[in-house]
Every structure is written in C-alpha cells, then in structure tokens.
Point group: C2
Chain length 426, copies 2
C-alpha cells in the first residue's frame, strides 16, 4: 500500500504504469518463491480482511452509488456497481474458494528422457504480471487479483472511475490480508489514477505487463484488442448458435433452446441464433415455445412461415449479439448447411447441436471451430464454474494460449527444465 | 498454384494478403477435414516432388546466387542462400521426417465428468492460418510449410527477396506433391510479391492470419514484434548464461563452457555470458581454456584478474548477444548473486548451471525464469530436434501459448467438447 500511496498521481501516466509494473515484477518474484500453501493461506487472510472491512467497503460503495446517481447512470449500471452485505460476503467467499483450488504452479506437464541421458520436464510457472482492465463491477477487483495471486502472478488492476471508491476499499482490505500472509503489497496494485491515458499505457507496456485481461462491455474489449501491444486474453462477442437437427428429440430441443436463450439473456454464453433443420418435424412448436416464453424471434423466410409472430430478420441479425430476449432463427438444410452458417457467423465462443443421432453430433463437435462445442446441452453452461474450474478470469475466443473458460491454468505458462550429467552437444 | 498465379502482383498489398489469407482459411478447413494419415501421405508426396524437382530448384537457386553476388551479398549471406544436391536432399528428408511425426491434432488433453452428467474434453485442433516471414534461407519454405500442414494449418509464406526464385521453385514442388495427395493448393501459399508492404499487411491481418512466426535475424524479428497486431511466436535474443557454481566439477565445467560458447557461435542457444562463482577454485583454468580455444573474453574486474588476456567488459557487454567467439565473464558471489545477474540480463531463452550440488541446482532450475533452464548441460542443446520434438518452427521466448522450442504441439490450440443428454442450466 505504501508504494501505491507514494506513487499516486504523477503527471505522466506512462511513468506511473511503468513504476507500478516494475514494482509488480519485483513482487511477483517474491510471490513465486512462496510455497503454494503460503499463497493459499495469504488469500484466506485476504478473504477474512475483506469481511472485516465490510463497513468501510460498503461506505465507499455508497459514495460511488451516490456519485453514479448524480451522474445519471442507468439502473443496470447502478446495479452492477452496488454492493450489499450479501454481495460482499459472496465476494469474500469467492476469494476463499480460489485459495482452496489446486495450484497449477509446479505441475509437471510432461517429461522425456533423451538417448544422451538428458532428462527434460515441462513445468508450469506463473506468467508474471497480469494487467486487468475493467468497468463498473467492483467484485472484479477481488476476483481477478485472487486468481492472479493463486497462480503466482502479480496483478495491476485498473477499474472504472464509477467504482473508484469501492475498488480502493476492496483493494486496501485485500492488500492488508495478503501482506499479513507474507505476500508483498506490490503484488496486487490498483492504478491510483483515473486518467484514461493509464489504460493506453498499460496496453502498450510490452515487457512490463505480460498479459492484459479486459473485463467489461464490448466497447472496452474492442478498444483493448485494437490498441494492445501486450497479449490480450478476451472475448469480444458471444454469437452462439444452437442447431436443432432433424433427429432432435422435440421436448429436449425445446427445453435446451428456451434455457440457452432465456435463462439469462445478458451473459456471453446465451444463444443468439437458432438454426432449425428443414426436416425437423416439430419446428413450429419450437418457435412458438420461444415466443410464448417471451422471446422476440427474427427469422428468415422459412422461419417466418413457422409462426405468424416471427419478425423478418435483416442481414445484420445473423451477426448480432442481442444480449436480450431476442433471437434470430434460420431454417437450414441439413448438417452441411448448418456448419456453413456457423462458420460464417459464429464468433467462435459456444455453438451447440441438439440431436439423437450420435454420428451427426460427433461430426458437429469435430467440425465446428469454436472454443466450446456442445451436444445436447444448453450453451449457458459456457462458464468456468460450470466446467469445474472453480472460477474464471474470462472466456477466451482468441486461438492462442487458452481458449474457452480460463481459470488458473490459463494464468500460467511453462518452462523446460533440463537435467544433465555433463553432456555437451556433438 | 493457379490461385497464386492469378493473384500475382495486384496493386494493393493489403488486398493481396487478404485474398491469399481468405483462400488459405478456406483451404485450412478442407485440410483439417482430412485424416492425419492423409495429411502425412500428402507430405510424403511433397518430399518426393521436391526431390524430383531438384534440377529446377537448383537452377532457380543459381539465379538467386548470381543476383546475390551481383548485389554484393556477403559470403555468409550467400552461404545461407546456397542450395546443392546434399542440402536439397536434406530438406526433402526433413519434410518426410515431419510427415512421420505423431499428429497432435485430435489429442485429448484432459477430460472431466461434471456432477450434472456433462462430459467435457479438451481436444487439440489446428490454430488455423499461420504467417511465416523469413529471410534468405530457402529451406524455411519447406520446413515451415511442412510443420504447418502436419498440424492441419494453412501457411502464408513470405520469404526474402534474395531467395525469391529458390522459394518459388521449392513452393511449386511442394504444392504439386500436396495437391497430388489431396491437400488444396491454397493451404500453402507463397506471397507472390516482394513489395515490403506485404509484410506490413500480414502483420496487421487480424482475423485473417492467426499467428505470425518470424524466422531470421534480430532486425526482422524486432520489426515483426514492434508492428504486429497478430500474435507472434518468436525470440528476439538469446543472451544465455552459464553459471559455474563453486561445487562444479572442473573438467565438466570446462567442457560445458567451451561447448556452450564455441561449438557453433551463431546459434541462439550459444552461451553469451559466463558467471563464475568467486568460490570456484578452478576459475583461472576455465577462463584460460576458453581463450585457448579461440574465444575473446570480456570480463568484469574480478574476471580480468583471472587471466591477463581478458579484455575489460563495458556495461553493454552484459546485454549483448555476440553470436561470435566472444564471451562476457563476470565473477559472482554465490547463487543469489548469479540469480540476480540472470534476472537482470537474461533474455529468457536458455540459462544453465554447472554444479555437483543437487540442492543448488534445483534452486537454480526453480528460480531462473527462462524458457529453458539446464543443469550440467551445454546451452547448445536448446533445440527442438535435441529435445525430441522432431523439428522446430522456432524457439519462443514470449510467455504465452508456447515457450522454448516449438514444434507441432505449438502449432495447435484446443477446443472444449461438451457432451450432454439434454441438460439445461438451473
């Protein structure tokens, strides 16, 4: 905390970020030298400190909420910002839960013995310094920092201005707990300036910050992806398809489609386009069930013929992530046609098939090139917790490093350890 | 080949690269649908076609060599460019060897069964379209294309202008063999223009090219790293350290140091800095052995005292990759001092310790944060072939995706396959 206080608000955002990241790098080396148990114990202390700091955090949050109301933030924005006893308790519980997750650091990925006697092993190690750029949800301060520390990484956090008091209070509590547990305070740093140039400085901090994780809406992620010179772990869009094959069991198809679209419409795993096979016998009932459940359906010509309440889809609908109770529906002629539609319009997040035909399902799982492909399941399962990862730093739709839900393993890299007995290369 | 011929030399490099990459993307989908055996068989045909095309390739190479001599290329440059029967045969053998490597595509990384019955598996899949930007060595045309195709990727190749005829002839032969084996010609494309703006277009082809691999000298790699908006797999420097601990066995230390520096001075795994423990008893003999073997030694004050032939090192020497029979030597006070020197000056490629003390060795292997860390072995072993990977597309010193020698596995990513029985998310 002292470092942050002394480093606060210099004139030059680039110098500020450099100072923070260099301190984070030094702290990361100390953090990596701690045992896994010591890192876990420090995180348990951080969770306790967060619970103990509830009055201060809630008071800080009240200041943010008042400022947000004065600035005219929407109800949805204010809800994202709002903390209460229950939410704060859930945040602290999540910190403790991450502390209890198995540590990927030190895991041996594989080993090899060479004919010359050299023994090779690939061992997981922390990535280093992770930059997190996020918007109004103050829980990200705790969630992201905790995942980073569990995997031996330092975190440089840059939250949104609307949550500045909440983030500062949460960060102070976490840091207090971590320091009491032997983790250097500089291992988790909150950028103490709301100057937007700090974000730009983080995005271009090659060699200082090893990876950037943006957490927030599409415009934030798009800006980060466009401007970053540091590797980014992110998804931009979740334009997710569910293909109801002609051999789908109708009750299952209806249940999955309604859940995939409507359980929560605002999450990135929500279905945005339904593809109905032209040979599927229960298509009118499927569309009716979605509309009856409160969904607006925008269809192509053949989908419009299924129910008179279907609205005509425009070309843009096939590339739109509604994040709302709106769905585009196309009728396709068999698997090939479905695969072609998905190849053209999917954002590579999560695409699913519903069918009782195992061979068709396996072809879909093999040929659809998305981070997550599903058979007979709701795309809303696209989530680190649901996948058993214990948490997630995000869902990646890029192709390198980590794909789909990313938790602790995605916050590590590896090194090669080579053990010899004096070998020289001929 | 037809595509490339018809696409040759349009006015706009960006449009050219877009056209090539889009064709590569389509071809990659067809390539990925082939079986592993079919891809391997096509590569064997490509190797055969390359052997059959030897007269044409050598004639093309002679044109490049004549042009290079006329342009006054150095002897080293001309040697890198030169092909003869033996070199071409070795290139074809390498293509066939990659064909025989185990295919990473389809490998199941791990599986999980969730309490709700969902069955998860992570399966390796090709990355997609790989851009290779390289300089004068025409073997890269075959090596890189072959590794990409083995792992189901399309390749967009951009070789140096000095090797344009050689590259064109090698590419034509490869493409002929691949097409005969059922691989679409557009899966391996050679950018048909030497306009330097094509390199810039490749580096910024987000969404069209999934990863760029630069192969060449430091200035090429630096430009690629500075300008790329596409992920890059590369190493910039191999500033590799060997630390001779006080408990090193002197004969082994001498043998390893001489090999690590002098076996081949121009490779990225060569030692550039030797750290000698101040308590190591045989330090003068170690330095003398290196100088006697033909190495120029630049030392700090204490190293200079070990042999009167040592030249005083400047500050820059500790951050210099000589790639020559030149070595910087520092005397350090124990492991901590060595670790601090390495943390400050290593480029994160390969660092080694020589010691008979197992505990010190393990601390070194754990705490040095480089892609490759070695105990009692020459850093010249830092090589995909020596590591048993069968080949390498490069050595990565970045921290994400793949690190150290990268071969087929590093040319893949993974997807999550989820198999359900109608599950919806509560």
């Amino acid at each position: 905390m002292t470092t942050i206080a002394t480093a606060s608000a210099p004139a030059d955002p680039s110098a500020l970020v450099t100072t923070l990241a260099q301190a984070a790098r030094r702290a990361q080396r100390q953090l990596a030298a701690l045992s896994s148990d010591a890192r876990a114990a420090a995180l348990v202390r951080a969770a306790d400190a967060l619970r103990a700091a509830a009055p201060a955090v809630l008071a800080a949050n009240a200041r943010d909420l008042a400022a947000g109301e004065a600035r005219g933030l929407s109800g949805a924005m204010l809800d994202r910002l709002m903390l209460d006893e229950a939410r704060l308790s859930a945040i602290a519980d999540a910190v403790a839960a991450v502390a209890a997750l198995p540590d990927p650091v030190g895991q041996v990925i594989d080993t090899a013995a060479r004919p010359n006697g050299l023994a090779l092993s690939r061992v997981r190690v922390p990535i280093g310094v992770i930059g997190i750029i996020y918007e109004s949800r103050p829980n990200v301060t705790a969630d992201a920092a905790t995942l980073c520390v569990r995997a031996g990484n330092a975190a440089v956090l840059r939250g949104g201005s609307e949550a500045v008091h909440s983030n500062t209070a949460i960060h102070a509590a976490l840091a207090e707990g971590l320091v009491a547990g032997g983790v250097p305070a500089e291992a988790v740093q909150l950028v103490p300036s709301q100057d937007r140039a700090c974000v730009g400085a983080m995005l271009t901090a090659s060699g200082l910050i090893d990876m950037i994780v943006p957490r927030g809406g599409k415009s934030l992620v798009a800006r980060v992806q466009a401007d970053a010179r540091v590797p980014v772990l992110a998804h931009l869009d979740g334009i997710n398809h569910t293909y109801v094959h002609h051999a789908a069991e109708p009750a299952m198809a209806e249940r999955i489609a309604v859940n995939a679209k409507l359980r929560r419409t605002g999450i990135c795993g929500a279905m945005e386009t339904l593809l109905i096979d032209s040979a599927y016998p229960a298509a009118p009932a499927l569309v009716a069930a979605l509309i009856d459940a409160g969904c607006e359906v925008r269809g192509d010509g053949r989908a419009a013929a299924l129910d008179r309440r279907v609205i005509a889809a425009s070309d843009e609908d096939w590339d739109t992530e509604y994040l709302d109770a709106v769905l585009s529906v196309a009728v396709v002629d068999g698997l090939e046609d479905a695969l072609a539609h998905i190849a053209r319009h999917s954002s590579g997040h999560t695409d699913a098939i519903v069918t009782a035909d195992a061979e068709t399902a396996e072809r879909f799982l093999a040929e659809v090139d998305s981070a997550i492909v599903m058979h007979n399941a709701s795309s809303q399962f696209a989530d680190g917790g649901e996948f058993g990862l214990g948490a997630e730093i995000g869902i990646a739709t890029g192709r390198l490093h980590a794909r789909g839900p990313v938790a602790l393993e995605g916050l590590t890299t590896y090194k090669w350890q080579v053990r010899g007995a004096g070998q020289t290369r001929p």
